[in-house]
């Protein structure tokens, strides 16, 4: 049995951590909310500003969960598997990159390096110095069944915990749901990892 010990939902105008409202920003566009969340974290990490919106969403979600998790520092540097998914891949940045060589006349290398969705796992790995398993997959929607199965597989193989997420960003839409899974309930949230519970937590943010 494994447990969801922290979770974070980010949409274009609000952010919830472990089910509680963390920040609400009804008047601003998505990029400003991510920036507000980052500033709120008060960490010294100027690399954040180079990231695209997809990476920023995954990054702040991870940092917000980290603050809740005391256990996370006790894992070895390759114990934590990163498992992420979305529908639109890196389309938000793909559009901008495409624009850079069409309307703007010169392809931008800084945009091109973000035209792959798994880069968000790279940013998380760099920030935390994690050398564990990584998988990014594309799916039409949040597939709780797959996550439950694959997390179990990873925990039975070499990983001791999993940082997971459905992080989808496209133009003005942000749909991010990240969660951390451990083999004991360090959080006392009492959320066993089941597909049903995951699906409910994902839907929770829409209320």
């Amino acid at each position: 049995m494994s447990f969801i010990t922290s979770y974070c939902s980010i949409s274009v105008d609000s952010c919830f951590v472990n089910g509680k409202l963390f920040l609400s920003d009804k008047n601003n566009a998505e990029k400003d909310l991510l920036k507000s969340l980052f500033k709120n974290l008060q960490i010294d990490y100027p690399k954040f500003y180079k990231m695209d919106a997809l990476c920023k969403a995954a990054f702040v979600g991870t940092e917000l969960m980290r603050k809740q998790l005391t256990s996370i520092n006790y894992y070895r540097d390759d114990d934590i598997a990163l498992i992420f998914s979305n529908k639109n891949s890196s389309a938000d940045t793909d559009i901008k990159f495409h624009n850079s060589y069409t309307s703007e006349a010169l392809p931008s290398p800084a945009l091109f390096v973000y035209t792959l969705p798994n880069i968000l796992m790279g940013e998380i790995a760099i920030r935390n110095q994690w050398y564990g398993e990584n998988l990014f997959f594309i799916a039409p929607d949040f597939n709780a069944d797959f996550f439950e199965n694959y997390i179990r597989i990873m925990l039975e193989k070499n990983s001791k915990a999993c940082l997971c997420g459905w992080v989808d960003v496209l133009e003005n839409n942000v749909d991010a749901f990240l969660f951390f899974v451990e083999q004991s309930d360090s959080s006392k949230l009492n959320l066993p990892l089941t597909s049903k519970i995951l699906a409910n937590l994902y839907k929770e943010k829409n209320n």
Partner: protein, 360 residues
């Protein structure tokens, strides 16, 4: 549980079957040639590009590839509830669909083959193909499925070409993996597929065995590899441990070998740390270019052909050792008993993955 891997196929400029592709490699034929005026500044660029001129090249490549795979296995497999199709691609048909290219393609595959389950798509930069194979084996080992069809496809696009040009990563000569004069990568396009199953009778011909695989992040830079090859080192170590294979049992390494200064250097350091510097090694990219999301599948298919033919293929483009740690580059085709092969891949986002296959 033994996991079988077979029914492989590949479509590239070198042929429409795995066997034809391998025969071209044996004959030293490269799929790379010069295309006039296709670069961002209208410069000529070396590419490995198929001759296909059809309305929907991307989807046609996949269909042609999978139709052939279908003929090599039990008829019921594609339709079975116990079968999952895993698709590997970095961008899908990106020049055609800037948004949802991958979803469109996955839907088309499901519809075409009346698959029971929606395909799973791995999109993990250039390790996608190897990771798709590993994912398939993991799911079968967990008894979630009995069979998996893995298909990898990426095509030459302005999007990707201009992007790599902006990074100055494209070589102005055919790529030369591990060579002292290497100048960067040559992009390629291909579609490759194979089948993984827990049941040997599924295959009409003799499959080989999938032993183990893993991935690991470099935690270093989003587009440059670790200077110590840390991620690749850790992935290979895990793959060997979970497969209970000793370094000395490996007969051949199919490296990632993109022919950029940094990648090949990183791999040489990782293989040296793994005490694999003497194991015969090549990169298939000298013949096929870098096929991105197809690469891991395509090159695994070439590894399967290597096993079946007991023939090590020379590293095309190599002349003089060009990495700080020497690796044992195959310089001429060599008949050799090959039992165990290690396939590695690395990619943007600090991605690294590896897998082992073995003759049965």
């Amino acid at each position: 549980m033994k996991i079988f891997i077979g029914a492989e196929n590949a479509i590239s400029p070198l042929g429409n079957t795995a066997e034809k592709n391998f025969r071209s490699l044996v004959d030293g034929v490269s799929g790379i040639r010069l295309f006039n005026g296709v670069g961002f500044n209208k410069e000529d660029v070396y590419l490995s590009k198929t001759d296909f001129v059809v309305e929907n090249k991307f989807q046609t490549l996949i269909k042609n590839c999978l139709d052939h795979v279908q003929s090599k296995i039990d008829k019921q497999i594609f339709l079975s509830e116990k079968t999952i199709l895993i698709f590997s691609t970095t961008k899908g048909d990106i020049d055609k669909h800037l948004v949802d290219a991958i979803g469109i393609s996955a839907n088309a595959i499901q519809k075409e083959y009346k698959l029971y389950h929606h395909p799973l798509t791995v999109s993990n930069a250039c390790t996608s193909g190897v990771q798709a194979v590993n994912l398939a084996a993991d799911l079968i080992n967990a008894n979630l499925y009995d069979n998996a069809i893995i298909v990898g496809c990426d095509v030459i696009s302005n999007f990707v070409l201009y992007g790599f040009q902006s990074l100055f990563a494209i070589s102005d000569e055919p790529c030369a993996p591990f060579d002292a004069k290497r100048k960067g990568l040559t992009l390629g396009e291909a579609c490759a597929a194979l089948v993984i199953s827990k049941n040997k009778p599924v295959f009409h011909d003799h499959p080989v065995e999938y032993v183990s695989g893993s991935s690991a992040n470099d935690a270093n830079h989003i587009s440059g590899p670790s200077k110590t090859g840390e991620g690749l080192f850790r992935s290979v170590k895990k793959t060997l441990a979970s497969g209970k294979i000793d370094v000395r049992e490996i007969d051949f390494i199919s490296a990632h070998g993109t022919a950029t200064i940094y990648n090949d250097e990183m791999e040489s350091i990782a293989f040296d740390r793994l005490t694999m510097d003497q194991i015969p090694l090549n990169s298939f990219k000298g013949y096929l270019g870098h096929t991105l999301g197809a690469a891991g599948v395509l090159e695994t298919v070439m590894c399967m052909q290597t096993l079946k033919n007991n023939l090590l293929i020379k590293n095309l483009g190599f002349d003089t050792a060009g990495t700080s740690k020497e690796v044992n580059v195959v310089k001429e085709n060599k008949n050799s008993e090959v039992n165990v092969i290690l396939k590695t891949a690395s990619g943007f986002g600090g991605a690294n993955a590896s897998l082992l296959i073995r003759r049965i």
